[in-house]
């Protein structure tokens, strides 16, 4: 295990930048977001969590596939080269690390491999970062409800825990081991640090967000039973504006649209995030739209995460990061809907 002083974090950042792209939380107008770092001094670990999830490191909101010229033969269109370089995703909270595992199911696990996600994922090393157990969890978070600890190192290549003014870094995978060995700016941790690390991981498992722990299967079943209960869905979706804020900040929402965007004859076929909360998400070419009502769309979102996903793939497609709740303009809280459903 290694350590560094938090005040010297930019030295570590600079060394990582020498090896690849460093993607870390950066303070912006509305809060923090993961961005590629251009100046090592930008790295700031004084954050709770980012507004937008780190999924955009592997699955950017816009991904260009092919460039073309209108009126020209399709064979003259050129695929956009995937320029993948090693990347370090730095300061990812345990719940967000967990989200990558869920997203892997869809982008690689089902057999239909998405090369964009896969290659970026393979080229990246994840530096997970424990929540600060000395500050209470944000009121919107519920990751412990879903069985995710505040300091779970699983899924990270290197896991980081803050100890006073120091940052402890422990290699979790061989990739992380190799990386840490190459970081000359780090010093060796003491036996005391090792104990602190293990104690924090254990304490992280006992750290509680709101709600008590839940089991996936009974929830999945409950939502299947509630599907036709329009009264329930209308009630919980009364306030919903049907905007896409919740899905765009979500670490496990993966729906996208493929668009041809052309300007003055020059076109790009690109993938753009889409949201099941948008009216035209399900609009068919015939003009028919199977989900015209707000309650139908919110029902889709909740049931996808808490019912269909469980039935098809096993895990709940939610990590309790609380971003959707924080981003919602009308304070809709997905787990309160689950809670209400279980009582219904």
């Amino acid at each position: 295990m290694k350590k560094t002083s938090i005040s010297e974090i930019s030295d570590l950042a600079a060394q990582l930048m020498g090896k690849g792209a460093l993607i870390a939380p950066v303070r912006e107008e509305a809060g923090f977001n993961f961005r590629e770092i251009s100046d090592a001094k930008q790295v700031d670990l004084n954050f709770y969590n980012t507004i937008i999830s780190p999924k955009s490191a592997f699955f950017p909101q816009t991904e260009d596939f092919v460039r073309y010229q209108t009126g020209k033969d399709i064979l003259e269109a050129t695929p956009v080269e995937l320029n993948i370089k090693p990347a370090f995703l730095f300061g990812v909270r345990p719940c967000d690390v967990k989200s990558f595992e869920i997203m892997d199911i869809h982008f690689t696990g089902t057999g239909a491999v998405d090369p964009y996600w896969q290659k970026r994922r393979e080229a990246a090393a994840i530096f997970g970062y424990a929540f600060d157990l000395n500050t209470p969890a944000d009121g919107a978070d519920f990751y412990s409800t879903l069985g995710i600890g505040a300091a779970d190192p699983e899924g990270s290549d290197v896991f980081m825990i803050k100890k006073g003014d120091d940052l402890l870094l422990k290699a979790i995978t061989p990739k992380g081991e190799k990386l840490l060995a190459e970081m000359s700016v780090l010093s060796d941790a003491t036996p005391d640090d090792l104990n602190y690390f293990d104690d924090t991981v254990a304490a992280g498992r006992a750290f509680k967000t709101r709600f008590t722990c839940v089991e996936a299967k009974p929830i999945a079943k409950k939502f299947e039973d509630l599907f036709g209960n329009t009264e329930f869905w209308e009630k919980v979706s009364n306030a919903c504006l049907s905007c896409g804020a919740c899905t765009f900040v979500c670490p496990t929402c993966y729906c996208f649209d493929i668009c041809d965007e052309t300007l003055f004859g020059k076109g790009t076929r690109r993938r753009v995030w889409d949201a099941c909360m948008f009216t035209d998400f399900t609009l068919e070419a015939s003009g028919h739209n199977p989900r015209t009502k707000v309650y139908q769309r919110l029902r889709q979102k909740v049931c996808h995460k808490y019912s269909y996903h469980i039935r098809k793939y096993g895990p709940i497609s939610c990590v309790g990061c609380g971003r959707c709740t924080r981003a919602c303009p009308v304070n809709i809280d997905i787990f309160s809907i689950v809670d209400e459903a279980m009582k219904a």
């Binding site: 912006e28 937008i52 909101q61 765009f248 900040v249 649209d257 668009c259 303009p329 009308v330 809280d333």
Partner: protein, 288 residues
């Protein structure tokens, strides 16, 4: 205020119960419990028992007027309105989206309402700076008088100090941060178009991907669609997950409209929206 938030809540509950009990209305649009006290939610009470779930506190910033167009025409609705919200209702009446006789306006005179995301008091910064509803049937409390009345345009000082070039740079930078979640248009009581121009693809007015061109097309068009109609509730800015200060543009346009046409949006049901009305003495300033 002469009365407290709690007293307003009690009055809201009592009026809602009465209106639903007597069948005067079929729904009361007010506020309900969210996941904690600081995060109340818009709430639709549909029977007398629901009325007990109504809450009102300093975080009830939401403008309920946006929900009016969701109900079929002719639905009898009671709606809780703060100052800006009442202006939205008036504007919707002017635009014939709702009828005055179908509505019972539960007026809430209030100041000190906070943005639940930041805790910041929103009076006159992102809203019109009024404390009393412009129009109401039942007033829940007493009109607020003696509070300092700030101009809703005071916050424009810094913006107006910028020249055209600087404003262009400012907005380009702001719009580049937009993630196109459309929370702004969905939170806006005046954005009721179905479909919104940006969702159309025949013709296609703007790109779907969140890059400069599409973002600029979306926001500038939306800004202009709201010219003379924005009632300065600030909901677009509060809804934005990345805090783009949309209210600055809306306030600037509102100010220009008021100067040119002598009329602010949503102040009287007798008014016509400035951009659908023609008067021979209309300002020619823009042509000069």
């Amino acid at each position: 205020m002469a009365i407290s938030f709690k007293q307003i809540e009690d009055k809201l509950k009592a009026e809602a119960k009465k209106l639903l009990d007597t069948g005067t209305v079929t729904v009361v649009l007010a506020y309900g419990q969210g996941y904690d006290e600081k995060h109340p939610m818009p709430y639709a009470a549909k029977n007398a028992a629901d009325a007990a779930n109504i809450v009102f506190n300093e975080y009830c910033a939401a403008n309920m007027a946006r929900y009016l167009v969701r109900y079929p025409r002719g639905t009898k609705i009671a709606i809780a309105v703060k100052a800006a919200d009442s202006r939205a209702v008036i504007q919707l009446i002017q635009e014939d989206k709702v009828k005055r006789e179908d509505l019972v306006l539960l007026g809430i005179p209030v100041y000190g309402i906070k943005n639940f995301k930041t805790g910041e008091i929103i009076d006159s910064k992102t809203t019109g700076g009024l404390y009393n509803p412009v129009l109401y049937d039942i007033l829940l409390g007493e009109e607020v008088h003696g509070q300092p009345v700030n101009s809703p345009y005071d916050v424009l000082v810094q913006y107006e100090a910028m020249d055209n070039e600087a404003r262009w740079v400012f907005w380009k930078k702001e719009f580049d941060r937009c993630i196109r979640c459309y929370a702004c248009r969905k939170a806006c009581p005046m954005c009721y178009c179905d479909p919104c121009f940006i969702d159309q693809n025949k013709p296609k007015w703007g790109e779907k991907s969140p890059d400069s061109q599409g973002n600029l097309m979306y926001h500038l068009t939306r800004f202009h669609h709201l010219a003379g109609r924005c009632i300065d509730c600030g909901e677009c800015s509060r809804a934005c997950p990345v805090d783009i200060p949309l209210y600055l543009f809306h306030k600037k346009v509102a100010k220009e409209c008021e100067e040119m046409f002598g009329q602010a949006a949503g102040m009287s049901i007798e008014d016509k929206p400035v951009l659908v009305n023609f008067r021979v003495d209309d300002s020619d300033k823009i042509l000069a």
